[in-house]
């Protein structure tokens, strides 16, 4: 669905939001590896520090224009102040560009042992509404209502995408994860919409599972989920995708893509990790794998393949790993090891 055009020099321009905390370090790693791999990408760095305005959180116009022009961006982590007045910047970006689906694959890495082997899940999260609607109010002092908003339109869009995505990565089944026993109307709407959309995709099997069961079964044994694309409302997707990351060894490893009708933004699942920022300790794998997903999305499969293989080989060797993977390599040492593999 990527409609970007090559420039005269044969390259694509991609917007790069380096982000906060460990963002610049992991971004640097990506840039070096892309250069070494001769990936046909020119980066266009932009700043998304929110502009002061009386209204809702807004990002600078240049950043918006850049993404609209290039149709694709790679993004590092952005810190969200907890409890402060302003909406998460990540959320603002998703809203600004209407990035309705968040794709989060999660695959065990050979060479890094966890209690779970052969994990290969794909989870798609509705990205624009649900519990993240941001509609909350104080009814009287001490009583708060939060509104979870589910619309047929947004549900249909993300569900249809889930089926298409399953087709594109050749997984035979789509499964909706829901809690329609309790939220009969909202999750019920998501579920019935799914049942309808499923009819458009007779070649893909469709089923559904209660959120409780999904948690129980995935943590008991994740491998039966390997041939499934899971799709779910916003909050469940947030929680379950982080849980999947936990199965394979943490946030330093999991990529994600935010897909919209026009543009897409690829980003690591992790946050800005202020505790290790600036120390050359961060694991850039998550952002690297996100950049691989980005190349695939742009149809640059051979470049994606090459970089991906170099990352996997480096981790499988286990000699040059960052601290979060029980290694003692610095960010740049790990980066160089990958470049050698290229």
């Amino acid at each position: 669905q990527f409609n970007g055009q090559k420039k005269a020099n044969g390259k694509y321009t991609v917007t790069f939001i380096e982000g906060d905390g460990i963002g610049p370090e992991v971004s640097k790693s990506v840039k070096q590896i892309f250069a070494a791999a001769d990936a046909p990408i020119d980066w266009e760095p932009v700043d998304v520090t929110p502009i002061a305005s009386d209204g809702p959180t807004a990002i600078p116009d240049e950043a918006i224009q850049s993404v609209r022009r290039n149709l694709v961006a790679l993004k590092g982590p952005l810190a969200t102040p907890v409890g402060e007045g302003h909406v998460s910047l990540n959320l603002t970006l998703r809203r600004t560009f209407n990035l309705f689906a968040n794709v989060r694959p999660c695959r065990s890495l050979q060479g890094y042992k966890t209690p779970y082997d052969n994990v290969d899940t794909v989870l798609i999260r509705e990205n624009t509404e649900g519990e993240y609607s941001g509609i909350e109010h104080i009814v009287v002092d001490g009583v708060v209502q939060c509104i979870k908003l589910i619309t047929r339109e947004a549900s249909e869009r993300v569900l249809r995408f889930a089926f298409q995505y399953a087709q594109s990565i050749r997984k035979p089944r789509v499964r909706v994860v829901h809690k329609a026993t309790i939220m009969k109307m909202s999750d019920g709407l998501f579920l019935t919409t799914a049942q309808n959309v499923a009819k458009e995709f007779p070649d893909i099997e469709f089923d559904s599972e209660l959120l409780d069961n999904a948690c129980l079964k995935m943590v008991t044994d994740p491998t039966p989920y390997n041939d499934i694309v899971m799709v779910m409302p916003n909050l469940y997707g947030d929680i379950l995708s982080d849980m999947c990351a936990g199965l394979i060894g943490g946030l330093g490893l999991t990529p994600s893509g935010n897909i919209g009708d026009e543009c897409s933004i690829f980003e690591a699942v992790h946050g800005s990790a202020p505790d290790i920022a600036g120390k050359n300790l961060a694991n850039p794998t998550a952002l690297l794998l996100s950049s691989v997903m980005m190349l695939q999305h742009m149809g640059l499969n051979s470049h994606a393949e090459r970089i991906h293989r170099a990352i996997l080989q480096t981790i499988a060797e286990g000699k040059t790993l960052t601290g979060d993977l029980r290694g003692n390599a610095k960010t740049d040492e790990y980066t160089n090891a990958i470049i050698e593999k290229l």
Binding site: P115, V143, V144, D242, M243, G249
Partner: protein, 353 residues
């Protein structure tokens, strides 16, 4: 499990016997309650059952609501109950969850779920020992939903200071009473700034009344990730309703599944003991392969609550001894014993311990 002092109430006791409401529930309920009944009889526990066969399965014949009301009345009379799980239909036309309605009706606001490795039964994770305290009566389970225009639905999540405060207080008292070190609040206050924000702020307010405990808070997605990669760090966890459902299932999976996790629901006046990881088990209903451990251990929590500690200890030790032996195990624990075999093995052990 020590009873939390603020929530003492008097169960009905006649002629030296307690009357306890028994709700077997749907799915595997009948089989696992049968196990408890057999064990209690063998131990001569002074408990008289007041059994109500409520069901959530719509067959067109029964009057589901009437039975449900009977169960509520029985619990109000007896103040203590032992319960399996009731089925809830997914269809929009179907009835509301009776499990939730019961908790709301009796205001049994605190769900306690004990997640601990059972010695002798190895899983992917060792040394897990955490206790989930879950708000049971509001949050995402408020049941308030409406369709503003066709295709646009709003579900309300309600968070109140009053209910947040009492559940946090319960968690801290529980931690103190049971010699626990740390209490962690699970929330999503970065997104639900007002709702979960209120829960989190209240937690930290209440914490001031309980010096000597380590106090932390954690975002629910991070908690779920940590739970599967480093669960040993957790001790007592307190959280709104939905996150409790998620973490109790993750937790159950860490130590061996829903068949072994006991739990209870407590309020000021009533206590209902039920498996901590709430599954109906329709898929194995009537096949005599359910693991009764979760309900049996829930029933021993109940015995302690009634002050019948000796019987509680004898029964729970027998259960642990059977599991440690490893010879008689149900299918979910990798064995091929039936529910009945397992129950009989417990009876035999009780002779010895």
């Amino acid at each position: 499990m020590a009873t939390v002092s603020q929530d003492i109430f008097k169960p009905t006791k006649f002629g030296g016997k307690y009357t306890v409401t028994l709700i077997p529930g749907d799915g595997i309920g009948v089989e696992v309650t049968e196990s408890v009944k057999t064990i209690f009889k063998h131990e001569n526990v002074p408990v008289e059952w007041d059994q109500i066969d409520v069901t959530g399965v719509v067959t067109g014949k029964q009057h589901l609501e009437d039975l449900f009301q009977q169960a509520v009345l029985s619990l109000k009379r007896n103040k203590v109950g032992l319960k399996g799980i009731l089925y809830t239909p997914v269809e929009m036309s179907g009835h509301q969850s009776f499990n939730v309605a019961l908790r709301q009706e009796l205001d049994i606001y605190a769900s306690v779920v004990l997640i601990k490795n059972i010695p002798g039964y190895e899983t992917r994770h060792a040394n897990v020992d955490m206790c989930l305290i879950r708000e049971n009566t509001e949050g995402e389970y408020s049941g308030l939903e409406h369709q503003s225009v066709p295709g646009v639905v709003e579900s309300l999540k309600i968070v109140t200071r009053m209910k947040s405060e009492r559940i946090c207080r319960f968690a801290f008292s529980f931690a103190k009473a049971n010699g626990r070190q740390k209490v962690t609040c699970i929330h999503k206050a970065n997104i639900m700034k007002l709702g979960d924000g209120l829960f989190r702020l209240t937690f930290h307010e209440v914490a001031k009344d309980y010096p000597g405990l380590i106090v932390e808070d954690l975002i629910v997605d991070n908690a779920s990730m940590q739970a599967v990669s480093n669960p040993q760090q957790f001790d007592v966890l307190v959280m709104p309703n939905l996150y409790g459902s998620i973490l109790s299932n993750i937790g159950a999976a860490l130590v061996g599944g829903p068949g072994i996790i006991p739990g209870c629901n407590m309020g000021r006046e009533y206590a209902v003991f039920e498996p901590g990881c709430r599954h109906v088990g329709l898929d194995i209903k009537g096949t005599n392969q359910a693991n009764p451990t979760a309900l049996v251990l829930s029933s021993t929590m109940m015995l302690r609550h009634l002050g019948l500690d000796e019987s509680a200890t004898r029964i729970s030790q027998a259960v642990y001894a059977v599991i440690a032996d490893g010879k008689v195990r149900t299918k979910d624990m990798g064995g091929n014993a039936t529910t009945t075999d397992f129950t009989n093995a417990i009876l035999q052990k009780m002779e010895l311990v």
